[in-house]
Every structure is written in C-alpha cells, then in structure tokens.
C-alpha cells in the first residue's frame, strides 16, 4: 500500500484496506498505464486478473468498473476501482494487458452497457444480440419490484425477438460497434422516471 502511494502519487486516490484487500481508485484515463505498471513491475507483480466487475451506483450517480488483481509477492488482493460516467459510459479496454478480460468486458457491456474502447469483440454475450436493455442496471426492475414500486404497471422486460428483422434495419445503420447506442437506451419509459426513481436509486454505499 505504501508502495502504491509512492509510485502513483497523482493517480491513486481513496486508498483503503482491510485484512486481505487493498483498494485503490484510479481515474479512467490512467487505468491502462497504471495496470500495465502493476502487472509488469517486479515490485508489484500483479500478474493475474482475478475478476473484473461493473457496479451501478444508481440513477444520477456513476458506474464503476472494479478489477481484482492477484500477486504472488503481496499477501493481499488488489482492488482497482475505476469510476465511469453514467451518461457516457466509456472506458478503455484492458484486453491489451490480459486477453482474458475479453469475456469480462463483454459481460459488463451486456449487463451494464459500459462500452470498452479498444475491445475488438464487444457484443452481447448472454442476451440475444437484439435485446435492448441492460438488465443489471439499477433502473431495470424485476417484475415483482415493479409491482411494488410507484412505477407499477410498467414492465421493463423486453423479449428477444430473434427473427424480427425489422428491428435491425431500424436500429443498425453503418457502424455496429457501439450497438445499441448507449445514450438512446431507456429501460423504463420516460414518464415512469419521476416516481420510479426513488425506489430504484438506493443510497450509495460509503
């Protein structure tokens, strides 16, 4: 941890630790360079990407991409948190460092709608290619929750219309790399937002 402070005085923020995890927050622009140093520098030696996850802190807040790294030289997991803007969820891809981040990033794109710049295979991995929601966002409500909330009656579910070719011609034009366009994606119809927001937006953890 001390090493982290010494080596990255500008970029590393919000350092925090418990018995087996060291946590650090990095800005979006510096993530690839910092992770490359963490991986290649013999002092760190975090050679293995254990996990990469995305967290949604609710409407009005930001996304976060969380990397867990393993090193054989340090007795703790290293957790790297990278905040991502919600309105423009873009962050650089780390597939150039770990090829195995590919499926992690595809999953984050599928579930959260975060676009990883530089990932050459960013498409949906779980849902059908023409599915148009991001199920793990906090504003995507499961049916029972929708019934309980003030947005009752609004069903955010979208079924994959696998053979529905018309959707493609409408949605997809030339470049499909960012399909579906992240800024046009609305899970719950707009009129449900003023009321639905309270139940969906939980208090942000410390």
């Amino acid at each position: 941890m001390r090493l982290l402070v010494e080596r990255f005085p500008e970029t590393a923020r919000d350092l925090w630790t418990d018995e087996d995890t060291v946590e650090v927050q990095l800005p979006r622009d510096a993530v690839v360079e910092t992770l490359r140093t963490l991986r290649d520098d013999p002092e760190f030696g975090f050679f293995m990407l254990a996990d990469a996850a995305a967290v949604d802190y609710g409407i009005g807040h930001h996304f976060e991409v969380v990397y867990h790294l393993f090193s054989d030289r340090h007795p703790a997991w290293l957790r790297v948190r990278v905040p991502v803007e919600r309105a423009n969820p873009r962050t650089p891809s780390v597939t150039s460092l770990w090829t195995g981040a590919m499926f992690h990033e595809r999953e984050m794109y599928d579930m959260m709608g975060i676009v990883f710049e530089g990932n050459r295979d960013l498409r949906r991995i779980y849902m059908s290619p023409d599915y148009r929601s991001f199920p793990q966002r906090k504003d995507f409500l499961l049916p029972d929750d929708a019934a309980d909330s003030s947005a009752a009656g609004v069903n955010p579910l979208e079924r994959p219309e696998t053979w529905d070719l018309t959707t493609f011609s409408r949605e997809l034009t030339s470049s499909a790399a960012t399909y579906p366009p992240p800024d046009t994606q609305v899970d719950v119809p707009a009129e449900a937002y003023p009321h639905g927001q309270e139940s969906a937006d939980k208090s942000r953890p410390a």
């Binding site: 779980y126 849902m127 059908s128 929601s133 199920p135 995507f140 499961l142 049916p143 029972d144 069903n155 579910l157 079924r159 994959p160 219309e161 696998t162």
Partner: protein
C-alpha cells in the same frame, strides 16, 4: 308402436304407420316381404360370436383384431421410449444419473439416449428454460417425429421455480410446448424421474399422451414468442 331393435320389425312398422296415417308422400314401394324361413341376423352372426348389446350395437370375436392391435402397438411403444440426449441445466446431471448403473432405466427399454431428435420419442426437458433457449427447444420438439411425448423435469421447467422472477427465464415449459408429465423437485431424485417415466408409460398405454391431442389438433406451430408475459 312399441320400440324395437329388430330392423325388420321396424321397417314393417314404419310402413304400416305411414300407410295408416297417410303421411307417406310418395306411394310406398312394394312392401318388403321377408319370409319367416329366411335366416335371421342372429343366425348369420352366430358363427362369429356376435351378439347384440342391450344398449345397441354389436360385439363379437373378430372385434378383437382391430382393437387389440391398437393395444399391442401401445404396449410396444410404452416399452420402448427413447429419450432425447438433451439437458439444459442441473437436472441434466440427475437425468444422466437415472441412466447409470444405480438407477438403470434401461430396464424399461428407455436407455439408448438418441443424439438426434429424429430418432427420439421422449423429450425430457431437464433444467431451466431461458428465453434464448426457448426457440431452439421448440425447434427440437418439432423435429421429433410423431408419436412423441414430453416430460418436464424439475420445478424450473414446470413453473420457473426459483428463477421465476428473472428477466430471462420462461415461467414453465408448458408456455411454449405441450407437456405430458410434470416431475417436481429441484432437481428431482433419479427415483422421482423414473416414477414420472413410469407414469408416462401408463399414459402411453392408455393412449392419453400429448401426441394424440397433438395429432387431433393438427400439427401447429406453438407460439412461444408472445407467451412469456
């Protein structure tokens, strides 16, 4: 006029009746004279063991051939049900366990798990059905030749089970295709699946399985897309 089952009496009676009441529109043809010495129906049918039933209709020896042929076919089908080698999720492991040394369903002639749906009789839907898998599964079902039966194994398959609230799970396989036997459990023990398959055998022997209604309705595509909520 007394009701009678004898067609000859009935014919005579009707002609008499019409003549008496004058209701016959055309002059009735010459009356059918049946000499009493002519052999009656009973005599003609006696060699075949046919006799009239009190409530109408006839029963006899040769009746055995068409009716019991059906029984034989049903027996054959019930004793040779080949499942499709297809598993979706957790239940698939218990389905395989049903076929292994300890709970051997080969005893009932159900063993050769066919890899191709064209040669299978029973589709055991073993595991959670998701919306993405629903299309391929229905296509599998349609690729199977008649007669065919479907067993829904596990709660996820019968109703969605613990994943009922999920955004990507079909809440019961009967929303997309017909089902004959439901086996509850999460997952059911192999003994449970064997019990379900023996129930299916009873259905097959009573010819009450799904394929019969399926045939009666005519082959139709089951609308699976609109069914999920």
């Amino acid at each position: 006029m007394a009701l009678t089952n004898d067609p000859r009496e009935a014919a005579r009676g009707r002609a008499d009746n019409e003549a008496a009441q004058g209701t016959a529109l055309v002059t009735s043809p010459a009356r059918i004279e049946i000499p009493d010495s002519a052999p009656s129906d009973d005599d003609l049918l006696a060699p075949f063991g046919m006799e009239e039933h009190p409530t109408g209709g006839f029963h006899g020896l040769l009746e055995v051939i068409p009716t019991k042929a059906d029984l034989v076919i049903d027996l054959i089908r019930a004793n040779s049900l080949w499942p499709l080698l297809s598993g979706l999720s957790c239940c698939a492991i218990e389905m395989m366990s049903t076929a292994t040394s300890k709970n051997d369903i080969d005893r009932f002639g159900m063993f050769p798990f066919r890899a191709s749906p064209r040669q299978a009789d029973v589709l055991i839907v073993a595991g959670t059905l998701t919306t993405k898998m629903a299309g391929p599964l229905v296509r599998l079902w349609e690729q199977m030749p008649e007669p065919k039966w479907c067993v829904a194994m596990g709660t996820c398959t019968t109703s969605g089970g613990r994943f009922k609230r999920s955004y990507s799970v079909v809440q019961g396989v009967d929303r997309v295709m017909p089902v004959d036997v439901y086996v509850p459990g999460c997952p059911p023990r192999p003994e449970g699946l064997i019990y379900g398959l023996l129930k299916l055998r009873e259905l097959v022997m009573a010819r009450r399985g799904q394929w019969r209604t399926y045939v009666d309705r005519g082959p139709q595509r089951v609308a699976w897309e609109g069914d999920v909520r």
